[in-house]
Amino acid sequence: MSEELLVTARDNALIDPSLHIWTWEVAMYLFMGGLTAGIMFFAALMTVRDKEHIAPFAATRLALLAPIALSIGMTTLFLDLEHKLFVYRFYTSFQITSPMSWGAWILIVVYPISVLQILSTFRSGYPFFASFVDKLKPARLLMDWCERNRVTIAYAVIPFAVALGIYTGILLSAFGARPFWNSGVLGLLFLVSGLSTAAALVVLIARQKTEKELFTGLDFVLILSEIALIALVIISLASGSGQHIDALQIIMGGPYTFQFWVMFFCIGLVIPMLLEILEMAGISKSLAMLAPVLVLVGGYALRQVVLDAGQESTWTHYETQYSPELLQRLPGKD
């Protein structure tokens, strides 16, 4: 027998009996952050590779969705903060060892870059709205400048999009105290997942056949890469220390097995991948819209399950925890 009991009351909210500090708000932010990274990356890639004729939506209209997705994510992230009035403190210092501090500053840089990217294709993508912008002289001049430097801006966007996509994973992997997150591959996995969700979004919205085909193919490759990266995450946990092996059990028979393997892996990766194969082979077109929807659901499911499983994994194991319900059993309590 080896038992560690907490003999004095400890029922700290969000910490006991097991950590549950971050819930859907943070998962949604991680998802939206990845999606934004993917949106900016593909919009830039189409410009750099001069694919406007094949993928007009991605090349000229997609970029507008980046600040929208990012703002949704930042709103839910704000909702998660416990000391909201002091949110400005993220921007009164830069902590070089804290990925969260890096992230806060990356977000600040991404917004203006995203605006430049939008303006660089605004006239061709949204002529109606661009005509309003044109009425304002400084805005018109800025739009002219962005259009002239369209390719340069696209090249500049790519490293920031990659940084945004990868940081959400590094953010979690830097927590040595949560062994499930503690894998260097997580950053890459989140980046590839973010790119995949953005590709799915293009398939969902784009009208032109060539564009849907291009992005279905891209998404297929990204899903394959994601599966390979998941294998690497599992290998790195399985070959790690006792804490890592314990952490892996959380999705290998433990409490998050169903969420990981069914909700994320099957519904979010394998099924859409099979649907994409059928579509590319020209066998089934009727389910064409289902694959990208599932990829988006899977992208969110990945963040949620990784977030939950990571908080479940710990270095501290008390066999029995204090339960306030026990107080009800005291004599004199009805």
Partner: protein
């Protein structure tokens, strides 16, 4: 870096919980929150059982991951010592430090929302006093002092007794020692 350590004798600790009450009283910790707690660890097979009581709290790690990962500098080492504090005015309540602590020693202060934890009673330490938990211990099993002072009681105890720290493999370099 001045190194303040707590040395707790598990052979004389009886798990009475006075340290927990003293902390709540001294630091006015709200209902339902605890900065310290007691663990009763039992090992063996009945009837050959061995019980150890441990009064646990923040380990005031020399290599504190909560300080490293705090995005705003709210979590910091006090006065170039290993004592880890949180400055409420800098804390956004993002909870990164809570996830970063392998000892689950942090808490969210309510109703305010900033993150709170054991301070080693630095307000008492600054006046040359022991932390409240140490000074209230009825069995005298808790000791506090500087490891830099070669004549301190804590130094003497660690030189003459067997001891352990919790989860040294985290690499956090914890500073609460348990005599065994």
């Amino acid at each position: 870096m001045t190194r303040f350590v707590m040395v707790i004798d598990t052979r004389t600790c009886i798990g009475c919980g006075d340290c927990v009450v003293a902390c709540k009283t001294e630091n006015k910790v709200p209902d339902g929150l605890n900065r310290d707690w007691i663990v009763e660890a039992t090992r063996g097979t009945y009837p050959d059982l061995k019980t150890e009581f441990r009064s646990e709290r923040c380990n005031h790690c020399s290599n504190a991951t909560c300080v490293t990962l705090c995005p705003t500098g709210a979590s910091h080492h006090w006065n170039d010592s290993n004592i880890v504090l949180v400055e409420p005015e800098k804390c956004t309540g993002c909870k990164a430090c809570i996830a970063a602590c392998p000892y689950d020693a942090r808490l969210v202060m309510h109703p305010d929302g900033y993150v709170d934890k054991c301070t080693f009673c630095h307000h008492r330490v600054a006046r040359g006093l022991d932390p409240a938990c140490v000074s209230s211990c009825p069995t005298g099993c808790m000791h506090f002092g500087s490891l830099d002072d070669p004549h301190s009681e804590v130094n003497h105890l660690l030189k003459t007794r067997d001891y352990k720290v919790l989860k040294p493999e985290t690499g956090n370099d914890p500073n609460v020692y348990y005599l065994i």
